[in-house]
């Protein structure tokens, strides 16, 4: 009997002991902090995520997120957004934003990660000094890029340059605009010294730091110094431009089309200084701008159009109602080479009188007389689309003109039926966007299944040239300004060097309506359209220069109202036979584009402001 009792007791005891081990389970899919900072590999991976977060937050597709609309092309008159210019998408263009809007703020988590990495890397006994130097350069670069995104929107920001703890005063006030820009420029100058000359694609280099510095310093010159010719920030732009070895021949520039119409050519192009790529492993049409550019055809268009403009392929399960239809306002900015070779505004060229039809007057499909960037950027009436699958007609009663848009207004009266394509996801301006649209893409039912590699330009030489030109222009050095404007006109625009020089020869002045400044604005728009919403921030920069900059939260000259940010959008109505055209103006329920001076600095979300205690921007209180 005792034997039994003992064995029972033994069983009991063995069951009751060793419980701590039993509950000591571990996760299989995590690493520790210690492992991370003692490995060069993992430290690099830590920085990669910061790249992903910083560069990803200013992407083209941000247009689709309402929160980022202030950074989207739809803020300007370059595009009509949404099917039929819907209210939702055009809200901010009509200046309907209030302090209840939330356009984001510095990501504290990102800054904490940057500062944690800076701290751990600098204090690491294991990491080699050369590695530390490059890594620190990258972190400074990324911190600057992150800050600049919000400095453009709000002006002065909270300057957080280290790890904050609970013991710190966390009601951090906003610094002045000057301090904020100086902080960013300081970071970029550090980055420019420690970053390498070359790096793997997707990582920052010396050139990237200099290129970003040019962009930042131009903005700073306007907002901090009111764009006075003597501003030190212009000097910084020029210094950085020289470091980038910019030259009259534009030797770093490549064909515009190569950068935007196929992945393979984009990554091979030397013009791109910093890119953000996506891999086909996890990228489909849904994850790139093409998602928003799609045209639809499911055969639902008029019998006339089916006879005259047939499409023998179904194009649907495609774009989204975000849409981004280029306006006539944008198209007007593409210059044309007239019969005598001179470069002109298209409306001033002889073809307007001699052309037999709209194409011969405006688009020159066969001879390609417009600025070459036009053909890379804009899809117009009677172009082939979807890798040659279909010919698209945006004209009245065309196979891809939106039946409900002004293009087909009054068609029932005219033809007795609703003309155009009744699928709403079709052009309502007469144009569609194809910059950043890869040529090999065809129409498939499920865009999610069409996997592809994709390459965004973050920084490139084309912009650097124009930034250089702008710095000279603003300082009154018109000769140098022209010198740096010509390379993009020639290499990207496809114009003859001499004719470009001739086009600029008599132009001078840097006030808003001065000819040289107007030519510069036009050149910059056609060069940078759909990239980083450059048009909007540039207009603000130039307008701020007219306003004299911000001192003590006030505009020195009472605030300049930017004419380009006001009024209706324009589209084209080409006749059914393609021979004639007229322009129409379009607005939506929320009205035409509006701009008042408070827009130079956007409102800070009120509920964030109440918690953080930061000051609101002027005009939004």
């Amino acid at each position: 009997m005792k034997k039994y009792i003992y064995s029972v007791a033994f069983l009991l005891l063995s069951g009751l002991t060793a419980c701590t081990d039993f509950l000591d389970t571990k996760p299989f899919d995590k690493i520790t902090e210690e492992q991370t900072w003692s490995s060069e590999n993992l430290t690099t991976s830590f920085i990669y995520q910061i790249y992903a977060d910083v560069l990803g937050s200013d992407s083209w597709t941000a247009a689709y997120a309402h929160q980022n609309s202030c950074r989207a092309e739809g803020m300007t008159k370059n595009v009509m957004v949404g099917t039929l210019n819907q209210a939702y998408w055009s809200n901010d263009r009509a200046e309907n934003m209030t302090k209840q809007n939330d356009y984001g703020w510095l990501s504290y988590n990102l800054l904490w990660r940057i500062h944690t990495a800076m701290d751990k890397i600098q204090n690491s006994p294991k990491l080699p000094a050369a590695y530390k130097d490059v890594a620190m350069g990258e972190l400074h670069f990324l911190r600057a890029a992150h800050y600049f995104l919000y400095a453009k929107q709000y002006g002065g920001l909270q300057i957080i340059d280290r790890i904050y703890s609970l013991e710190d005063d966390l009601q951090i006030p906003r610094s002045s605009i000057k301090d904020t820009y100086d902080f960013i420029i300081g970071d970029l100058e550090k980055a420019a010294t420690s970053l390498p000359e070359t790096a793997k694609r997707g990582l920052a280099t010396k050139s990237a730091a200099n290129a970003l510095l040019m962009r930042v310093a131009l903005q700073a010159a306007a907002y901090v110094d009111g764009g006075i010719a003597t501003s030190d920030y212009y000097k910084k732009v020029i210094t950085a431009g020289k470091a980038l070895k910019l030259n009259e021949s534009g030797s770093q520039l490549v064909s515009y089309e190569k950068m935007f119409r196929s992945y393979e050519q984009a990554i091979a192009s030397e013009e791109l200084i910093l890119t953000r790529e996506r891999s086909k492993v996890n990228t489909s049409l849904y994850d790139c701008p093409m998602q928003y550019q799609g045209l639809w055809n499911t055969g639902k268009y008029s019998t006339y159009a089916q006879q005259h403009f047939p499409i023998n392929v179904t194009m649907n399960f495609w774009g989204m109602d975000g849409g981004s239809w280029p306006t006539q306002d944008l198209v007007d900015d593409y210059l044309v080479q007239d019969t005598n070779g001179s470069i002109k505004y298209w409306g001033d060229a002889s073809y307007v009188n001699t052309g037999a039809n709209t194409d011969e007057k405006m688009y020159f499909s066969k001879t390609r007389k417009r600025d070459a960037r036009f053909y890379t950027t804009v899809l117009y009436d009677s172009c082939m689309y979807f890798n040659g699958q279909a010919r698209i007609f945006f004209r009245r009663d065309g196979n891809c003109s939106n039946a409900n848009s002004k293009i087909n207004e009054g068609s029932e009266r005219e033809y007795g039926y609703k003309a155009g394509n009744v699928e709403n996801y079709n052009s309502s301006t007469g144009y569609a966007m194809i910059k950043y649209h890869y040529d090999h893409v065809v129409s498939l039912q499920d865009p999610g299944a069409q996997k592809l590699d994709y390459c965004y330009s973050v920084l490139r030489y084309g912009e650097a040239y124009l930034n250089m030109a702008e710095a000279y222009l603003m300082t009154g050095d018109f000769a140098n300004a022209k010198k740096y404007m010509i390379p993009t006109m020639v290499i990207h625009g496809g114009f003859n060097q001499a004719k470009a020089e001739q086009y600029l020869a008599n132009k001078t002045g840097n006030d808003w309506n001065d000819e040289l400044f107007k030519a510069y604005k036009r050149e910059r728009n056609v060069e940078m359209v759909y990239e980083n919403n450059d048009r909007y921030w540039s207009l603000l920069r130039w307008g701020m220069r007219k306003s004299g900059g911000i001192k003590n939260n006030e505009y020195l000259n009472n605030g300049f109202i930017i004419p380009e940010l006001q009024g209706s959008l324009r589209g084209i109505r080409i006749s059914r036979d393609g021979k004639t055209y007229e322009f129409f103006e379009d607005n939506n329920a929320v009205g035409e584009a509006r701009f008042s001076t408070k827009r130079y600095l956007l409102p800070i979300n009120e509920s964030f402001r109440l918690k953080s205690g930061v000051k609101q921007n002027p005009g939004w209180e």
Partner: protein, 1047 residues
């Protein structure tokens, strides 16, 4: 506590069991005849054996059919026939044992035997079944000894009801249990289950902690008993996992006696329970015309009057999407076979079950096939007092779904208009955008096979040296594995010109995944049970228990298939192949103790608790103690109560109370609080795959994990319960009622009182001061009686509770408007927004009253919100909590049983108290034309229709969304009463099959679920659904017929 349905069960069982044994009666008769054959001759009398005849009747003199008559210590035995007669051979001094369920077992010593002996035996009904065994956590008790709040569910009456899962079967049947079904999608239709308003309960099957999925897929025929543990006293033994209550299931064991085989088949079909009527083309065009008119686009801008006339003439030529995509009914059938029997030394039970459910879609793309098996074998080694139970069971579940989920399909169906077409004129699939038929007719599918196998063993040893002391070991090992394949391929479709779009190979993809979950549990038990001086009953239990889980999965995918004949990953584009896996483990352990003492079952005190540990917490903080105490006082057993008893009013009355602290350590999605995520206490970094691209190649990245919460712990729920159990009117009426009060503390929350965001990382979770409370009543009442041949019972049960945010972790912004903050408020409101909403009926009302600043174009027929703070304008400060959400806090149910000469009627009626369902933006139509679907949406305000359901036509961009802002206007009353189930059956053993010896039971039945509902929201759809938008798989009404055979 009184068993739910007990009396019903008593009667039901009596009848059923009677029927079950009919054939053996005949066999016994036959045998008896054989034995008795010599009798008339009087000559051949077996030596020493005499023939005993007798009749067994109940207290009312009615014969008892199927009572067991055996002789102690022998295998001899028989069963009474339809007249209650039996014949048995016996010897002098044999002890006759007469037993029948529901009656007290009698022992009669045959002091005098002879051939003409005839016994008239009257059986006493086992009064109130107070001593019947009730299974509780880690043991058993009886109604008489119980002092906790528990309820048992008699699942037997459910046998003929075509419930495809167990949760629905609990609805409306148990006091304290609230069940709401939201969808009836085969394989997905698990209803939400709550005990007294708490979250998902713990499920325990045959003594081992299981999960809801296992409970759902039980063969309901296998269930012997289901107990619901509600208060602290009953749940403390499950420690930190039992805060939401426990549902405890015991499966059938073989029973000593004859071998029996049961077979049941039922064939059913499902129909939409409350299909909402869609607008036809004319109505839709009218609605859009009105909408456009409201938006300033003029009269008839969508369809001109001529077009409208044309539409009205050709209504049949437009699409009704429901009819296009769904069939009238979906089939469902179930077959179960069980075998049971055994001797004192070896008992066995085995069963097979097959369930098939089809989907309501027109094509057969959705179906569920489930196969269950179970064998329970119990061996008793009488010489050493050891019992060994082996329980092997498992299931295979095969699910097939279309290439898109129900939500996608239904949303596409809803978003279509009558003017769109699924098919072209030639009958081919059209290129309609988001055509639901493209999915339903497409070659794509999702298939899942889930296999579960469990091997459980229990050993119990009654130690021979100490009477009442036993030790035991229970162990269980189970494996669940699943194989899933998701084949994506789109059907070919055609545009209006007949151009075909064939799926591009790169569009065709496959993904497969598989997982295997392994889990073992074991319990080591010591029990001691003794009675001192006949009056002092002591029972003690100690258990050490452990659970360990380890699981992993593997998933892979590829795309671009040039042939669809082979659906294998490696046949796709090699460059597209991806793969991933996961693995993890979890462990928990506990020490359970229970000490019971009662004095003559009159005064009861019981302590129970668990010292419980979980790997969710940092070492040294892993264990918590969860104690409880309960007291019971059977007042009816007091001498002073005798007079009351004699009056025949109260036969039994017990008062009981309990108190205890239970834990909650589960991922429970409470809106305000963080959950117990795995390893939240560990400082970890995440290694993220494919997060950035460097040189064209995806690279991995590292991010800090969430801030380690080293102080995290379980939530503590303190529970109080006071209850009464009673039996009255000669035990015909029994009832129980409980008051309960629960306080939950220890919610984890980051310290949000101070603004700390700029530090850049989340503060760790700490135990906050937040506290929730629930208070309520639940109870049940059942009256059972017999009038002539009519057996009947009527039962009622209810649950009523209030839940409160006693203290919250609200931040400073929320605190600013006391009308929308939660603290001190009931939990179950619908939302916050404007209240007191009505229509502006005239321009004067618009002019002379407060309005929203942004609503610049208010007109009659727009919504007029109350100016709560009286500041003359309507803004955020006027917002207020409103309504009672769709989770009812009062539910009730009625169970009705009628039995007459083989005919049975069983019905269950279930209903809720106040409840409201929010009409979301889809139903409001605020998103414009593609959300206008239903006929009732035509009921918009106009000067001629001032009491409309909807404001004047419009959408959310009209007038700054005045009408569709969150307000009580859109919160629609949705309480209901429904005939949840009804079953009619007839057993032919009562008539034509009376004499068929080999057949014990042949019953045919017809049954239905969700047959009828009454309530204000029925016009919008099934009242039980959580919304009316029709974007999810709808609720079904099920009809079925079937039969049962017993051998």
């Amino acid at each position: 506590m009184i068993k739910q349905n007990k009396k019903l069960s008593g009667h039901y069982r009596k009848v059923l069991l009677g029927l079950l044994v009919l054939s053996s009666i005949d066999v016994a008769d036959l045998r008896a005849t054989t034995w008795a054959t010599p009798l008339p001759n009087g000559g051949i009398v077996q030596q020493q054996k005499n023939v005993l005849k007798g009749t067994i009747k109940d207290e009312n003199g009615e014969p008892i059919i199927g009572a067991n008559v055996t002789i102690k210590g022998q295998n001899n035995g028989t069963i009474t026939d339809l007249k209650g007669n039996f014949v048995l051979k016996c010897e002098k001094n044999d002890i006759l044992i007469i037993s029948f369920i529901g009656y007290k077992t009698q022992k009669i010593q045959l002091t005098n035997v002879g051939n003409n002996l005839f016994l008239n035996i009257s059986m006493q009904s086992d009064n109130n079944l107070l001593d019947e065994i009730v299974v509780v956590g880690y043991g058993t008790t009886s109604v008489r000894k119980n002092s906790a709040s528990i309820a048992t569910v008699d699942t037997k009456p459910l046998k003929a009801v075509p419930y495809s899962d167990m949760t629905s079967a609990l609805q409306g049947r148990v006091a304290g249990v609230i069940v709401q079904q939201g969808s009836a999608e085969p394989g997905q239709n698990g209803a939400s289950v709550s005990i007294r308003g708490n979250g998902e309960p713990l499920y325990v099957i045959d003594g081992f902690i299981a999960d809801k999925e296992r409970f759902l897929s039980l063969n309901k025929d296998d269930i012997k008993s289901t107990t619901v543990l509600k208060d602290a006293a009953s749940t403390a033994v499950y420690g930190m996992n039992a805060g939401n209550g426990v549902i405890l299931v015991t499966t059938k064991q073989g029973e000593e006696g004859r071998l029996s085989i049961d077979y049941q088949s039922n064939f059913g079909f499902n129909q939409l329970s409350y299909p909402t009527e869609r607008m036809n083309a004319f109505e839709y065009a009218t609605a859009i015309n009105k909408l456009n008119q409201s938006l300033g686009q003029g009269l008839n801008s969508f369809k001109s009057p001529q077009e409208m006339d044309e539409i009205a003439k050709n209504l049949g030529s437009y699409t009704n999407w429901e009819k296009t995509c769904m069939r009238n009914s979906a089939p469902q059938n179930e077959h179960s076979l069980s075998i049971s029997g055994g001797s004192q030394k070896l008992k066995f039970y085995g069963s097979l079950n097959y369930l098939k459910q089809g989907g309501i879609y027109k094509t057969d793309v959705l179906n569920l096939n489930r196969y269950n098996y179970r064998t329970n074998v119990s061996a008793y080694f009488d010489k050493i007092g050891v019992t060994v139970d082996l329980n092997v069971n498992g299931s295979i579940k095969d699910e097939k779904y279309p290439g898109a989920g129900a939500w996608t399909i239904y949303s596409r169906m809803r978003d279509r208009t009558p003017f769109e077409k699924a098919f072209n004129k030639d009958g081919n699939l059209s290129n309609q955008f988001d055509n639901p038929m493209l999915v339903l007719q497409g070659p794509g599918y999702v298939k899942l096979r889930t296999v579960y196998n469990q091997l459980a063993a229990k050993v119990n040893w009654d130690l021979p040296w100490v009477k009442g002391l036993s030790v035991g070991f229970d162990g269980n090992y189970n494996i669940e594995s699943q194989s899933k394949v998701d084949w994506k391929e789109t059907a070919t479709y055609y545009d209006d010109n007949g151009n075909a779009t064939v799926d591009n190979p790169s569009n065709i993809s496959i993904s497969r995944s598989a997982y295997m979950d392994n889990q073992y549990d074991w319990n080591f038990r010591v029990n001691y049970k003794t009675t001192i001086k006949n009056n002092h009953n002591i029972q003690a239990t100690l258990v050490h228990t452990r659970q360990f889980y380890k699981g992993d999965n593997l998933a892979s995918a590829s795309n671009t298939f040039y042939t669809t004949a082979i659906k294998q990953i490696q046949k796709g584009d090699a460059a597209s192949i991806t793969g991933s896996n996961w693995e993890g483990e979890k462990a928990s352990m506990g020490y359970v103790g229970r000490l019971h003492y009662d004095y003559k079952n009159q005064y009861i005190i019981e302590f129970s608790g668990r010292y419980d540990g979980s790997d969710n917490f940092p070492s040294k903080k892993r264990f918590g103690f969860f104690p409880s105490i309960s007291l019971g006082w059977a007042i009816s057993e007091e001498s002073f109560f005798k007079k009351v008893k004699d009056l025949g009013v109260f036969d039994y009355l017990k008062m009981r109370g309990s108190y205890g602290q239970i834990g909650i350590n589960i991922k429970d999605n409470d809106d305000n609080e963080k959950d117990h995520w795995d390893y939240a206490y560990l400082s970890t970094y995440n290694y993220n795959t494919n997060a950035y691209v460097v040189n064209g190649k995806l690279v991995n990245t590292v991010t800090p994990g969430s801030t380690p919460s080293i102080n995290m712990t379980w939530y503590t729920r303190t529970k109080y319960d006071i209850g009464f159990d009673f039996m009255t009117l000669k035990n015909k009426l029994e009832g129980t009622i409980d008051w309960f009060f629960e306080k939950t503390k220890g919610y984890l929350s980051a310290n949000n009182y101070r603004y700390t965001k700029p530090i850049g990382y989340e503060l760790p979770l700490e135990v906050s001061k937040a506290e929730d409370r629930i208070e309520g009543l639940d109870g049940s009442l059942k009256y059972s009686d017999k009038i002539g041949d009519l057996d009947f019972s009527v039962g009622a049960n209810f649950t009523l509770y209030n839940s409160l945010y006693a203290k919250t972790n609200e931040d400073s912004v929320t605190l600013a408007n006391p009308r929308i903050r939660k603290q001190g408020e009931k939990m179950n409101y619908v939302g916050t927004g404007y209240i007191g909403t009505k229509f502006y009926q005239s321009p004067e009302e618009v002019l002379n009253n407060p309005k929203r600043e942004t609503s610049k174009d208010l007109r009659p027929g727009d919504l007029w919100y109350a100016d709560i703070n009286g500041d003359g304008k309507i803004d955020g400060q006027d917002q207020h909590r409103y309504g009672h959400n769709s989770s009812p806090s009062f539910v009730y149910g009625f169970d009705i049983f009628l039995g007459w000469k083989g005919f049975n009627v069983m019905a269950n009626i279930q209903g809720t108290g106040p409840r409201e369902t929010y009409m979301n933006s889809y139903v409001q139509g605020s998103e414009g034309e593609r959300r206008l679907d239903f006929k009732y949406q035509l009921d918009t305000w106009s000067p001629e229709n001032r009491n409309a359901t909807f404001p004047r036509p419009g959408n959310n961009s009209m007038n700054s969304n005045n009408n569709y802002a969150s307000s009580d206007f859109w919160s629609v009353k949705s309480q209901y009463v429904r005939l949840k189930s009804l079953t009619l059956s007839y057993n032919f053993k009562y008539s034509v099959l009376k004499r068929v010896n080999w057949l014990q039971n042949f019953t045919v039945f017809a049954s239905g679920i969700n047959l009828l509902a009454v309530g204000p929201s029925v016009k919008y759809g099934d009242p039980e659904a959580k919304d009316f938008d029709g974007y999810s798989y709808p609720m079904m009404r099920t009809y079925s017929i079937g039969f049962q055979l017993g051998f």
